[in-house]
């Protein structure tokens, strides 16, 4: 039987509170703005996409052990539950944290499912503060494992990877990739260090200012056996098992950012006056903000329900995680829409912070499948 409280107890509350406190001190929104949106020309018009990254902040985060949260105790991590990881991701979303935390948590969840020595070694690195990102998506944007554009070949007793992985999240901030590559035996998963010979990272020009995305070219990258996370043929199942956790993490990030949008817009409606009334007096403002809240609460409840399903090893975890992602993506889309619109003229300007969250939401809505995609998958499960 499942815990009534999602298993969200004291430890999880303490973690969440400490994360929230740290981020609100270390990265208040004006600091975030300076970091990622200091210069609009540099943001979008430079020849190379900018890398808005406070590496010292990231080192502090790693020192605080956030990367270790999802790593099993056996690999030197804290081995916390999915509900704790969800809370961590929710707070990252609320702060629109520009860091490799989210891809690292996602990679961790994939590595946890592999159960190999290679996966274990990678998990130990993450527990020690390394950042990682999945490199599993092809040029068309499909992350179905079999669709990968990377090929693994055996050459002289070694595995060699060739091809390009697309839509790799925070590629310029991480230490290694977990690459899906296919061979005749099926899909395998491999650890590839960012600096390994043959690796070229081509940064994408993206809308979202709080992250970094790239396509990663692998030109005959040699893999040692210790770097094999899943042998050819095992990779697809590992990723399938990790899918609910991956979706929960993205959904939690969406919920956290949407909560920021809600609170910021409600605050504006409380203080901004038009026609001799605070904006919130007008139901055309008040009711949509209430609808934002209703959507967020639905999504957040589904996120923790799905996280608890993952923790309990429920067969229905895929269904509930897809529901959580779908609801979160829809909640975020609506929150983004209304947060800009209800801020009026100022909301359309670069100086107003709502666009930073708007763009992060756009990115997360699509990541690993938007709401319509998830619902099509859910339809097949009902």
């Amino acid at each position: 039987m499942q815990p009534k409280d999602f298993g969200f107890g004291e430890d999880e509350t303490i973690l969440r509170d400490s994360v929230r406190k740290f981020l609100s001190d270390a990265l208040p929104v004006d600091r975030l703005r300076k970091l990622v949106a200091g210069d609009h020309v540099e943001a979008y018009e430079g020849a190379a996409p900018p890398l808005h990254y406070d590496e010292s902040l990231w080192r502090k985060i790693a020192d605080l052990g956030w990367t270790a949260v999802a790593v099993p105790e056996a690999a030197g991590g804290a081995g916390m539950k999915m509900v704790a990881i969800a809370a961590l991701a929710e707070e990252a979303g609320r702060a629109a944290l520009p860091s490799p935390l989210i891809p690292t948590l996602i990679a961790t969840c994939a590595l946890r499912e592999a159960g190999t020595a290679g996966a274990n070694a990678a998990l130990e690195r993450i527990a020690g503060g390394a950042a990682a990102s999945l490199a599993i998506t092809n040029a068309q944007g499909s992350w179905e494992p079999g669709d990968t554009d990377v090929v693994a070949e055996e050459a002289g007793g070694q595995t060699v990877l060739t091809g390009t992985a697309y839509f790799v999240q925070d590629a310029r901030k991480v230490d290694f990739f977990v690459v899906a590559a296919k061979s005749k035996a099926g899909v395998g998963l491999y650890v590839v260090d960012v600096g390994a010979p043959g690796v070229t990272i081509h940064a994408d020009h993206i809308v979202d200012l709080t992250r970094d995305q790239a396509h990663v070219e692998l030109a005959g990258v040699a893999i040692e056996s210790a770097a094999i996370v899943a042998a050819p043929g095992d990779g697809a199942a590992v990723l399938a098992r990790a899918t609910p956790a991956m979706l929960v993490i993205v959904a939690a990030d969406l919920c956290g950012a949407a909560e920021w949008q809600l609170q910021t817009t409600a605050e504006y409606a409380r203080v901004r006056t038009q026609f001799d009334h605070p904006l919130g007096f007008f139901q055309a403002v008040k009711h949509p903000i209430v609808n934002m809240m209703i959507d967020i609460d639905r999504a957040k409840s589904l996120v923790y329900g799905a996280a608890c399903d993952v923790d309990c090893g429920e067969a229905g975890a895929e269904l509930s995680a897809r529901m959580a992602k779908s609801a979160s993506a829809d909640a975020a889309a609506f929150a983004s829409n209304r947060s800009v619109q209800l801020h009026g003229g100022i909301g359309f300007t670069w100086e107003c912070d709502v666009h930073i969250y708007f763009k992060r939401q756009m990115h997360n809505q699509m990541l690993y499948g938007d709401a319509v995609y998830q619902r099509a998958k859910i339809g097949a499960l009902l």
Partner: protein
């Protein structure tokens, strides 16, 4: 974090579970309506009053009220009893206005005599209660009530017209706000208990719903005489007392909403089943990706409602104490409405067929449920009023009126 049961509570929970399993009543001859406030047949009244009385005698009703007034004298037991009744999927308690609105108001504002007189038979469903707030000219704006109460020695003379009074055909008592003075909109109101059944000057007229069925009423008062002893709290305190009642209305709505057990869950399961059995094109309506997407949206909202009920008890995952509780009514009723509408859509041309038609899918349930759903989004505070309340009380925005 969810509160852990104390040893006493754990014992009580076990008692509820055992008792409910052993005493689950056989279903009535005809299907119960979805909500207590929709009960309209004498057969259902009798069945449900008997059931509530049995639950009361087993200690599952009024658990947290003082024993001096017929309650159980416990703390935190009612929540457990409610959870276990929902879990056991037994029939709802019929005296929903009494339990949800009248009883807490009387407990708060009543005299010792009033509490002793009215509470025990209310709990036992020996006396059914109804509520008289809304009037033809005062729907969402309750404070503009015009029903008059004129002092006449030790009595008051009531004249006026109340509407939307669910259960009035069965009720012995009504809680009512009336105007004793026109000087001030709010301070001109006083709160009474008034007899309904067999009372000279009181006319209860069932109102017909758009479904063609009855289930709520209008009540006319013509020179109805009530003793001053039936006044609740001071003259001029009517609005304050009414606020106590409304504070508990949500509880009543939730109680009402739990219906015959899992109203939402049943509706969603029925929707998916309907789609899978309804032929469309070469296959079924479920094969239509657009319809399926809509059904899945409904299913996600229903799952959200379920997980929100769970989250509402986890302190660490709540942003504001009233944020989830105050959403319940609007979220549930709009979901039920949208689900019924999608169901109707699935039935296509067959959606034209109503309950009396033998070929109507699911006995005509879908058009009936869709029409009925508007009662839910309108009664007990329209969805529009609910959104005002949420925006104002939870998000601190300025009042819209």
């Amino acid at each position: 974090m969810a509160k852990k049961d104390t040893p006493e509570q754990a014992e009580f929970r076990a008692h509820c579970r055992t008792w409910l399993e052993a005493n689950r009543p056989a279903p009535p001859r005809t299907k119960l309506p979805e909500l207590a406030i929709e009960v309209s047949s004498e057969e259902h009244r009798e069945y449900l009053c008997a059931w509530q009385k049995k639950c009361y005698e087993a200690g599952l009703v009024a658990c947290d009220y003082p024993s001096a007034y017929g309650g159980g004298g416990h703390q935190g037991f009612q929540r457990i009893a409610n959870m276990e009744m929902a879990r056991a999927n037994v029939p709802f308690l019929i005296n929903v206005i009494g339990l949800g609105m009248a009883a807490p108001t009387i407990l708060h504002h009543g005299t010792e005599e009033q509490k002793k007189r009215y509470l025990p038979p209310l709990f036992a469903a020996d006396e059914i209660w109804c509520q008289g707030f809304s009037e033809p000219g005062a729907g969402s704006d309750l404070a503009s009530a015009k029903t008059s109460a004129v002092r006449d020695g030790d009595n008051w003379i009531l004249n006026g017209h109340k509407v939307w009074t669910s259960l009035a055909t069965f009720a012995k008592w009504m809680i009512i706000i009336a105007r004793h003075s026109n000087e001030d909109k709010y301070k001109g109101l006083t709160y009474f208990i008034t007899p309904i059944a067999d009372t000279p000057g009181v006319t209860v007229r069932p109102l017909v719903k758009i479904t063609g069925g009855t289930g709520f009423n209008e009540v006319l008062f013509e020179d109805v005489v009530i003793p001053d002893a039936m006044r609740l709290d001071d003259v001029g305190k009517g609005w304050t007392v009414a606020m106590t009642t409304l504070l508990h209305e949500r509880g009543a709505a939730e109680g009402a909403g739990s219906g015959g057990g899992g109203g939402v869950e049943d509706r969603i399961a029925g929707l998916i089943e309907l789609a899978k059995k309804t032929p469309r094109g070469g296959g079924t309506a479920w094969d239509d990706a657009v319809l399926r997407d809509r059904i899945v949206q409904i299913a996600i909202r229903a799952a959200g409602l379920r997980q929100t009920a769970r989250r509402g008890r986890v302190e660490g995952l709540i942003e504001h104490p009233m944020r989830l509780p105050l959403q319940g009514k609007v979220v549930m009723t709009e979901l039920m409405q949208d689900a019924a509408e999608v169901g109707l859509e699935i039935t296509g041309a067959h959606g034209s067929l109503y309950v009396q038609d033998q070929r109507a899918p699911d006995g005509g349930e879908w058009p009936l449920a869709y029409l009925n759903s508007y009662g839910m989004t309108i009664a007990a505070g329209t969805s529009e009023i609910q959104r005002n309340i949420l925006g104002e009380r939870v998000l601190g925005m300025a009042k819209s009126k």
